[in-house]
Symmetry: C2
Subunit: 291 residues, 2 copies
C-alpha cells in the first residue's frame, strides 16, 4: 500500500520522538527536526504518488541517525521491552497450555503482542503491559481463524516475519505452536528480523533475547527498513521468502510493504494508524488476521 | 504558554486536513503541503524557543488560505456545526431549567460543548453530538466551581471569549445564566469572537446564528489568530478586555494565548492535546476550569 499525505505529519512526529531519545539538548533536537523538515519539503510527491510507508520511514530514520550521530536511538527501549515481556512469558505459556484451543490462544497472544509498541511502551511496567495484553484478548478480532489453521497445517516451511522488540517474546509462543502443528512431521519455521536497527523493530539481538533461536531458525533480512521491502533485502532472505510455502507477517510495517506482493502471506496486526485501518476497512485499533 | 516541538507535526496535520477541505485535486493538496513544509523548514526556533501556538497556527492558516486560494475553508463545517448544536438547544435549555444548580449545569454544558471541534465533528449527526455532550457531562471535571460562582456574582462586566462554531450555541446557555447571576443588577456580558475566519473558530456570523446577539453584546477581536493574541487584536477589543472585571475564556486557543497574561481570567476548556494537558498537569481529554 502507498503512503498518503497523513504519513507526512506522522514522519515528523516520529522525528520529534526520536530526537528526544537522542538528546535532551534543544540545539540537537532542532538540528534533527530542521533536517527532517528540509527533506520533507523537497520530497518527490507529484500527484501525491508516495512510496510505501516503510520506504519513507527508512529514509527518515537514516537521516535522523546520521544527523543525531547515534546508531540505535531505541536500543535501551528495546532491551526494556524484551525484559518486561519476558517477565510475562511463564504466565502466558500457562495460559496456552490450559487453553481449549492452544493454537488459537497463541495466535491471539501474538496479535495482542503487537500492542507493545515504541509509542505506548516507554514508561509502563510489566503489570501495565500484562493489562494491555489482557485487554487486547477481549477486544474484537477480525479474521478467518480456520483459514489460518488450515494454512499452517498444510505448510512445510513457514517464514515468520517478526515486528517489534518485546512483541517478539509473545511471537515465540505462536512459533512454538507452529512447530507442532503438522500431524505428520514438525513444520520447519524460519523467523526473520530486520537486518539493522530501525525504530524499536526486532533485530537478531532481540530474537536471541526472546529465545527464538531455541525454537526456530533465525535470520535477518539484510535491510534497515521498518517493514519488508523485498528489493532492499538480502539475496539470502529473498531466497528463503521465495522458498517458504507460507509467510506469516506481523505488524503494520510488514503489511504496508507486502500487501501488494504475490504469495501465500498471512498478516497479523493491530491496525494502529488510520491510514492502515482505512486501507483494511476496519476501525483504528482493530486486531486483524488477513491475507 | 509556548509551543513545543510537538506542535510542529500538529501544524502539518492541520495543513493536511485543511488542504483536503480546500480541494480534492492531488496537485492542489501537494502545493499547500509543500508550502507549509517550506515555511516550517525555515521557522525560527533557536533553543526551541517557539511562539505561543495560536501565533504559529495564525501564520499556518494564512499561508494555507493564500496558497489554496480560499478565504474560509471551514465555512460549510461551521454552518453545519451551528445547525446541529441548535437542534439540541431546546433539550439542553430544559436540562438547565430543571437542574438543582442551573449555573453549574450551564457551566458543565459550556465546557462539554468544547468537545465539538473541527476534527471530531465533520461527519457526525445531531444524535452523536448529543451523545458526545452527554458523555462529557459524566466525565471528570477539574476546577473550583465555588470560585467560579463567586467570581461571576461579583463581576459587573464579564467579557466572554468564545471558541468554536457549534460550541458557541452551548455557550449561549451559560451566557444567559451569567446575565442573571447578580442578585442586585443584571451583569453586563460582552461576547467576543474572532475578527476573521480561522479554522472552525466562531466569527460574528456564528454568534448571530447562535442567537448570542439576543442575550449579550457581541464584538469581534479584530484578529485572525485561533486564540486571543492581545497585540494582534483591535484597540476596541483591547479596551473592552481592559475594562472587564472578569474574563471567561473558552477553549485551548484562548488558554494558550492568555495563560501568561495578568488579569481576572477564568479558563474553561477540554485539554484536548498532550501539550496543553501536560502544561496543566492533567490527563489529555480532561475538562478543566482554571485561572
Amino acid at each position: 500500500m502507498k503512503a498518503t499525505l497523513d504519513c507526512i505529519p506522522c514522519c515528523l512526529r516520529q522525528a520529534v520522538d526520536t530526537a528526544r531519545l537522542i538528546s535532551s539538548r534543544p540545539e540537537d533536537q532542532e538540528k534533527i527536526i530542521r533536517a527532517v523538515l528540509q527533506w520533507l519539503a523537497g520530497l518527490e510527491m507529484a500527484g501525491l504518488d508516495l512510496p510505501v510507508p516503510p520506504k519513507l520511514t527508512q529514509h527518515l530514520h537514516r537521516l535522523i541517525r546520521e544527523v543525531g550521530g547515534m546508531a540505535d536511538p531505541y536500543q535501551a527501549m528495546k532491551e526494556y521491552e524484551n525484559e518486561v515481556a519476558l517477565q510475562l512469558l511463564p504466565e502466558l505459556r500457562a495460559q496456552i497450555s490450559t487453553a481449549a484451543d492452544p493454537l488459537l490462544m497463541a495466535l491471539r497472544l501474538a496479535i495482542a503482542g503487537n500492542v507493545i509498541d515504541a509509542g505506548v511502551f516507554g514508561h509502563i511496567d510489566a503489570a501495565q503491559v500484562q493489562q494491555a495484553v489482557r485487554q487486547a484478548l477481549t477486544e474484537p478480532f477480525v479474521g478467518d481463524v480456520e483459514d489460518f489453521r488450515r494454512a499452517v497445517s498444510e505448510a512445510h516451511h513457514i517464514l515468520y516475519l517478526a515486528d517489534n522488540a518485546g512483541e517478539i517474546v509473545l511471537d515465540r509462543l505462536l512459533i512454538e505452536q507452529l512447530s507442532l502443528s503438522s500431524p505428520t512431521q514438525p513444520t520447519r519455521v524460519t523467523v526473520a528480523v530486520r537486518g539493522r536497527p530501525i525504530i524499536n523493530d526486532a533485530t537478531i539481538a532481540d530474537a536471541v533475547a526472546a529465545g527464538i533461536d531455541q525454537v526456530a531458525e533465525v535470520i535477518d533480512n539484510g535491510s534497515d527498513a521498518p517493514g519488508t521491502l523485498l528489493a532492499d533485502c538480502s539475496a539470502t532472505f529473498r531466497a528463503v521468502f521465495e522458498a517458504a510455502d507460507l509467510v506469516i507477517a506481523k505488524g503494520q510495517g510488514n503489511f504496508e510493504s507486502l500487501s501488494d506482493e504475490p504469495g501465500n502471506i498471512l498478516f497479523l496486526l493491530k491496525a494502529k494508524c488510520p491510514v492502515v485501518a482505512n486501507y483494511l476497512g476496519v476501525a483504528p485499533g482493530t486486531q486483524v488476521l488477513t491475507r
